[in-house]
């Protein structure tokens, strides 16, 4: 289990480091919202899910996409704006999708995928399927009206859905407590009629265990929804490949505890060094191949501009 978690965390971290490295070349034709520092949430969540379970994400969804088993070469090709991208170059980094892996979409408008996740869960319940849906969003989304409307309906209909608030403390550059008088995200969920729990420490195993228990309950037919607020920390700027501590809205000191407890470092210490190197080597090959795939892939032809507006 630890090996699997480490592999996923390491893959996501290294993919995003490569994205950051390539970014100045302008080969990536897309704004990038990197998850570096936040990977544990996506990995902890998705390791508790099966292939048929469904996730919806945000514009910061590289980690979620990869953790759920989304196709890596197609993701990189999408960032390059290439035809072999996961959305044929028509989505970009903020609209990742992998239908086979049941990554059912990510949106650039904060909070907008929450009700779609709820609607998907409604359909699964109506269709008598035992899959579950996970809706992942940030602490900014909690400010949106649609968050409350969606949670209310999901609770009203006891839907098989788990809400995961990835709280990195900032909506772009504005701290949670500059936007919320009480900063009580879990309470906001509870008032709609669902259990809610804060997982404060960015601990991938702990997130996995909590998720696993909730998924198990839903699978056994217990009514949903469940809600988790996972505290985590974004180490890069809101959008782009760099750090942003020089902007002054947050301090490097604030980041230090999160860097000290980086789950990738923690897990790597628990692995046999030989085994760890094997995992890392395999991942590096995978990443190199993915970027090479994106480089090779053609740009879409002009005719592609007009496809996919409506059904052909």
């Amino acid at each position: 289990m630890i090996e699997r978690f480490y592999r996923s965390l390491y893959l996501i971290r290294r993919v995003e480091e490569e994205i950051a490295a390539v970014y100045p070349t302008d080969k990536i034709k897309s704004p990038v919202h990197l998850s570096i520092g936040q990977e544990a949430v996506s990995v902890g969540v998705c390791e508790a899910l099966g292939r048929d379970d469904v996730v919806f994400g945000t514009y910061r969804s590289h980690a979620l996409y990869l953790a759920k088993g989304g196709d890596l070469p197609k993701m990189i090709a999408e960032l390059y704006g290439k035809l072999d991208g996961c959305a044929k170059g028509k989505g970009g980094s903020m609209h990742l999708i992998d239908v086979a892996a049941r990554v059912m979409g990510a949106s650039a408008v904060v909070g907008t995928t929450i009700p779609q996740a709820v609607g998907f869960a409604y359909a699964l319940k109506l269709q008598r399927k035992d899959s579950v849906v996970v809706s992942v969003f940030g602490d900014g989304a909690v400010d949106e009206g649609v968050f409350h409307e969606s949670l209310n309906f999901a609770a009203l209909k006891s839907l098989p859905i788990i809400f995961v608030c990835e709280n990195n403390l900032y909506a772009i550059h504005t701290h949670q407590l500059q936007r919320q008088k009480l900063g009580n995200i879990c309470e906001r969920a509870r008032v709609h009629g669902m259990p809610a729990e804060q997982i404060p420490d960015n601990d991938v195993v702990r997130i996995y265990e909590k998720m696993n228990e909730a998924v198990g309950r839903l699978r056994s037919g217990q009514p949903g929804p469940f809600f988790f607020e996972c505290l985590t920390y974004r180490l890069k700027e809101h959008v782009g490949p760099n750090e942003d501590f020089q902007l002054g809205y947050r301090s490097r000191e604030e980041a230090e505890p999160w860097i000290r407890t980086d789950p990738i470092k923690q897990l790597s210490d628990r692995l046999d060094p030989q085994r760890r190197r094997e995992i890392e080597t395999a991942v590096e090959v995978e990443i190199r191949d993915a970027f090479a795939f994106a480089e090779r892939s053609p740009f879409p032809q002009a005719a592609e501009l007009y496809t996919d507006v409506f059904e052909a």
Binding site: H95, G105, T112, Q116, F120, V309
Partner: protein, 348 residues
């Protein structure tokens, strides 16, 4: 004898028959399951199909639109009902940013087969926020289909088409049209997107009437006949995709085009139709054009002002008369009792 149904009954029957045919069709919205059943358009569906497939919702238009999209992504065919089109303003983010764009921005891998039914109100004090015909907002955005059927026949055929369509369809009803009756086949049929209908032939002027204004245009045509003018009346039915071929062909023949919209004219469907026809016919045939629609103000509930706010058959006839004869002749037909609007009585 051909069976006649009201518009309400046609909408209800289309929904019922499609729900019976396809278990993936679900119907929800504020009050679809209450005793009034959205003017009767959803009557009996709850009893027949159960509360999982037919349900009233919290007052959460934004989220419930997202729920419809999510359900559609999962393979259902939701029909989301709004008793007023004005309420769609609460759902714009989901409609414009997600429903319209999902197929495209996800590279053609998903589809959103949903129908959004909404109603335009008029008269009996509907006022500022119960009277708006906002379909041009949706015509503007690639990825949404927009239909505004006028007759019970089209109401059924277009709704069946909209439910079966694999793209999101904005299905726009008009409260006054709910009272119309016409022959409606009992069997299932569809009215295909992107095809207008010539509802009355003529040679002097082309008169396009949208939604409720189609009725007013047909009445205006009768007034114009008495003045010796033959108007060809066209119902676009589908506003997106729009059948500009049929309208342009008629305008090429008549050389005169008046579009009467159930909306303001600025940036509206009337502006779009006329721009498309003029573009199409420039260098081929000069066309005199005229737009008519709501007065450029907020809809007032008081009858003396409300009467001035809307075009009606006589103001349309007068404007078309001027268009055909050239200049302000000041002709205005005497009101005919037979051609009076069916006035909607309250309380709602």
């Amino acid at each position: 004898m051909k069976r006649e149904l009201s518009y309400v009954e046609a909408v209800r029957e289309a929904t019922d028959q499609e729900m019976a045919r396809d278990p993936s069709v679900i119907v929800f919205g504020l009050d679809v399951d209450d005793p009034k059943a959205i003017q009767g358009t959803t009557r009996g569906l709850l009893e027949k199909y159960g509360s999982e497939r037919v349900f009233g919702t919290p007052l959460s238009e934004d989220a419930m639109t997202g729920v419809a999209i999510g359900a559609a992504l999962a393979g259902l065919r939701p029909v989301h009902v709004h008793i007023r089109m004005d309420f769609l303003m609460l759902a714009m983010n989901q409609l414009i940013n997600i429903a319209a764009k999902s197929r495209y921005m996800y590279g053609g891998q998903v589809q959103v087969p949903m129908v959004v039914r909404s109603m335009i109100g008029k008269s009996w004090g509907q006022g500022a926020q119960h009277s708006q015909g906002l379909y041009s907002f949706f015509m503007h955005v690639p990825g949404l289909k927009v239909v505004a059927p006028t007759t019970p026949y089209d109401a059924k055929g277009c709704l069946v088409q909209a439910i079966r369509d694999n793209d999101p369809v904005m299905y726009v009803e008009h409260r006054i049209l709910h009272f119309q009756k016409s022959p409606v086949p009992e069997s299932l049929y569809t009215v295909a997107p992107g095809k207008a209908r010539i509802t009355a032939p003529g040679s002097d002027v082309t008169l396009v009437g949208i939604s409720h204004m189609q009725l007013e245009c047909l009445r205006a045509r009768i007034y114009l006949e008495s003045a010796g003018i033959k108007a060809e009346v066209i119902d676009p039915i589908w506003l997106s995709p729009l059948d500009i071929d049929t309208i342009a062909e008629s305008a090429r023949k008549t050389g005169r085009l008046c579009v009467v919209d159930n909306d303001w004219v600025t940036c509206g469907a009337s502006a779009e139709i006329i721009a498309l026809v003029v573009e199409r016919l420039q260098g081929i045939r000069p066309v005199l054009v005229r737009r008519m629609g709501f007065a450029p103000v907020t809809c007032p509930p008081t009858p003396p002002l409300e009467n001035l706010y809307y075009p009606n058959s006589r103001t349309i006839a007068a404007a078309v008369y001027d268009l055909v004869t050239g200049g302000e002749k000041g002709w205005r037909p005497e009101e005919s009792a037979e051609l009076q609007e069916i006035q909607f009585k309250g309380p709602f």
